[in-house]
């Protein structure tokens, strides 16, 4: 019930959140940084919900999760003929607009992070450049301030679609570099930036890119494209599983405080139960992505969920453009990567 509502609300919410992000505003906070001082004080004494300390309840929840997974996999069988019918059109759309969507999504995040345009709560706009995400302030790691300039260069290259594949590799490098710079906390982010880096290195600039204009859009041949595509899905899925375990399952009072802060509709459920359901769904969605099952439906559920949460919590969706880019491409292309049109796109042909 909750997830159906989340999914449906999320689909309608997406255009609204994107529109909201285009209006000038102070970028709002992320996760813990959302909470007010009084909420932090209350959180320090918030009791751990009993359902998160009970083996019996968590065991029962695990059983329900397994049953849900079996049902979802049967739903995949049911869905297969319909998906087969629309897949060519979706793949065609994916190969035409997918690269541009991913380029713009990553350019927005890299550019804003490099300029300090995505600060965490309490930090002024355009003051503190970060590495990819608001929490990773470069001023806290002396000697690494130059990374901001790298991000800006990469943002410009992605925006115009020049040397796109190399920039994708650069993003992978930057995401891996974040681990020694910021340590374990960066593990929460690295997979969700390595994956789009892999995808952009695979798909190149695509339509309306300088690479296409200058005929630099040849397919990379070092690795099998299917391997790269699946590796990206596995990384995104693993990232969700990691986040669900490290932040939702083992810090549920924080998640509950954030949901309460956002005054999220509960549909008669307790916040603790909602937190547990969110945790379970994130883990199952992550595993389905890792195993390459139900890629399109899972991508739509995730787009819906992050849009719904962004709206509820008053966050800017710019915090998650990397995930929007990945999920839109996964939803269009599905489990396997295939390029249906290596030549000029229909848009380019129309312009010619």
């Amino acid at each position: 019930m909750f997830f159906q509502t989340t999914y449906k609300t999320g689909l309608t919410a997406l255009p609204m959140t994107i529109a909201a992000s285009l209006t000038p505003q102070v970028a709002t906070a992320h996760e813990a940084w959302l909470l007010t001082p009084d909420e932090i004080t209350a959180l320090a004494t918030a009791p751990m919900p009993a359902i998160f300390t009970s083996s019996l309840i968590l065991g029962l929840a695990a059983g329900i999760g397994c049953a849900g997974t079996v049902a979802a996999l049967h739903f995949e069988e049911f869905l297969r003929p319909y998906e087969k019918r629309v897949a060519p059109a979706l793949k065609n759309m994916g190969s035409q607009i997918g690269p541009a969507v991913m380029r713009i999504a990553l350019a927005a995040m890299l550019g804003l992070a490099g300029l300090g345009g995505l600060p965490r709560h309490g930090t002024a706009l355009w003051v503190e450049p970060t590495l990819l995400v608001p929490d990773m302030q470069l001023s806290l790691v002396p000697g690494w301030e130059w990374v901001a300039a790298c991000q800006l260069v990469m943002a410009v290259l992605l925006l115009v679609g020049l040397m796109t594949r190399i920039t994708g590799l650069g993003l992978i490098g930057l995401s891996i570099l974040g681990l020694p710079i910021f340590g374990a906390p960066f593990l929460a982010y690295a997979p969700h930036f390595i994956a789009p880096g892999l995808i952009i290195a695979l798909i190149g600039g695509g339509t309306f890119s300088l690479d296409r204009l200058l005929s630099l859009h040849r397919q990379a041949t070092i690795l099998d494209p299917q391997i790269i595509w699946r590796l990206a899905q596995i990384l995104v899925g693993a990232g969700f599983v990691y986040l669900a375990v490290m932040y939702k399952l083992t810090q549920p009072t924080l998640l509950i405080a954030i949901l309460q802060h956002g005054d999220m509709p509960t549909f008669g459920l307790s916040f603790a139960l909602i937190a547990l359901i969110m945790t379970g769904v994130e883990i199952i969605c992550g595993i389905l992505l890792m195993t390459g099952r139900l890629i399109r439906p899972v991508s739509l559920v995730i787009i819906g969920a992050i849009s719904f949460l962004a709206l509820t919590l008053g966050e800017t969706p710019l915090f998650h453009t990397n995930l929007y880019g990945c999920m839109i491409l996964f939803a269009l292309m599905g489990r396997t990567w295939s390029v249906t049109n290596e030549g000029p796109s229909s848009y380019e042909r129309a312009l010619a």
Binding site: E31, A32, L35, T36, P37, D38, I40, T41, L43, A44, T45, A46, P47, M48, F52, T53, S54, S55, L58, G59, A61, A62, G65, C66, T69, V70, L73, H74, E77, G122, M136, Q137, S139, L140, V141, F182, G183, A184, P185, V241, V245, Y247, L249, T250, Q251, P252, T253, L254, G280, I283, I284, I287, L288, M290, T291, R293
Partner: protein, 151 residues
């Protein structure tokens, strides 16, 4: 349709394995770690717990000044991404539920306050801005300032 085909076993086994092991491991972890580690920095119990004394005074110009006297705590301007659980850091100053300053030194200028009642709180923070927690909870001190109406 068969109840289960071979290609479905992999994902189901992964979900069952992970959820099952989490159902076994998470309860004991959660029972011992009740406060979220990404928000709070818990000081070890073998260290003396910082104690906060806070006084406010009004200067000749009418502006208010806050003075923090914190035992067993060291103020620093140095912030890091991931702090050690040691009593080194700064304080967040909160007026009527809104954070107004990060205090890297023990004297803070509050400026002019409008007439009425004001609740001023100081919360000790680690070098990574996580709120410090001791044996008795959040390391925090509140005072109330009454600002009289101008004659």
């Amino acid at each position: 349709m068969k109840w289960l085909n071979l290609s479905q076993i992999g994902p189901i086994a992964m979900v069952a394995g992970l959820l099952g092991s989490l159902a076994v491991g998470a309860p004991s972890y959660n029972a011992q770690n009740t406060i979220p580690r990404s928000v709070f920095l818990t000081l070890p119990t073998d260290l003396p717990e910082p104690k906060i004394e806070m006084t406010a005074s009004q200067g000749p110009s009418g502006a208010w000044q806050l003075r923090l006297d914190v035992s067993d705590f060291q103020f620093t301007t140095l912030c890091v991404n991931s702090a050690q659980p040691v009593p080194i850091g700064h304080a967040h100053i909160i007026r009527d539920g809104v954070k107004i300053a990060s205090a890297y030194y023990p004297i803070i200028d509050l400026g002019h306050l409008v007439p009425g009642r004001h609740r001023i709180s100081a919360v000790l923070r680690g070098q990574d801005h996580r709120a410090m927690v001791g044996a008795d909870g959040l390391l925090q001190m509140d005072i109330i300032i009454w600002v009289p109406k101008q004659a």
